[in-house]
Symmetry: C2
Subunit: 141 residues, 2 copies
DNA sequence: CCTATATCATATAAGATTGCTATGAATTAA
DNA sequence: TTAATTCATAGCAATCTTATATGATATAGG
């Protein structure tokens, strides 16, 4: 039940792009320095974000990245699904693709469905803008 | 964000013991047959449950397992924490053991804390008895 | 005492995933 | 032309997952 570094770094990456948006491109080198992460690993992660159109890239000198849309348009859920894959705690609670033969008389599936819903309710209702606006010491749980 | 087979089988195992409690011992062979799982794998899983005192074992012929307490005393959370380890989606949201150096000015930690709380709220409020009482076709999400 | 039936204790292992690092090509501003 | 970037792949050690395998130990019943 862990979120991998890939997913977590992707969120931090998006937040960093939002925080450092001055209209100019933001280079991964700068992000990596600020976030204390490897440029090379971030390159792999941002590839997913650019290919999905969440981030716009510009090559060459003075190149870099920008958010394609406003921070409030990106939920944590969108980013995690992209990087982590499905957020379902077990495969059988989603598409019929991974249809389990025991599904019909499985008495535990409602547990996983409820868990899945709870997870989605959280990540689909927090945006990058929420994170940016949330100061480090005044958050409420 | 997946729950492994170990955790899922552990829950099914506990439910099976609850459902088939006649006062007599329940052998893993029977559980394995009903749940369509390997006896050997179940042995490993139930070891965790017996060592924690959730299940009482009896060796030898006519031996087997019984729940130590009533099904309503076991939550899904208890079982998953035992088999999966911590349910925290990221290490930094729990004990100070895995203290992250960025923790104090980390603006994403509230996301993971909220997610962690949501997960716990679900798994700590469903008991084995709830699962047993929940028919396969009349559950409500 | 013998045997069948259980649990208990370890060891092994293939395959997948994680969390990176490495190499180098392609693009572009200055 | 050069320096700064992104882009595209490959590689790899470590760990985790999901079991299977072997055999020891305990016990009820005959």
């Amino acid at each position: 039940m862990k979120i991998s570094t890939k997913g977590r770094y992707a969120v931090r990456l998006m937040v960093d792009l939002a925080q450092n948006n001055t209209g100019a491109n933001v280079s991964l080198k700068d992000v990596a320095k600020r976030q204390d992460l490897s440029v090379k690993y971030l390159e792999q992660i941002i590839t997913l974000l650019t290919k999905s159109g969440y981030v716009i890239s510009t090559r060459g000198a003075n190149g870099g990245y920008r958010l394609a849309q406003k921070p409030e348009n990106y939920t944590v859920g969108m980013i995690l699904r992209l990087t982590e894959g499905s957020l379902a705690p077990v495969a059988c609670v989603e598409s019929d693709v991974n249809m389990c033969p025991r599904k019909d008389d499985c008495c535990t599936i409602f547990v996983w469905k409820k868990l899945y819903k709870a997870i989605c309710d959280v990540v689909d209702n927090i945006t990058i803008a929420d994170i940016v606006n949330m100061g480090a010491d005044n958050y409420i749980i």
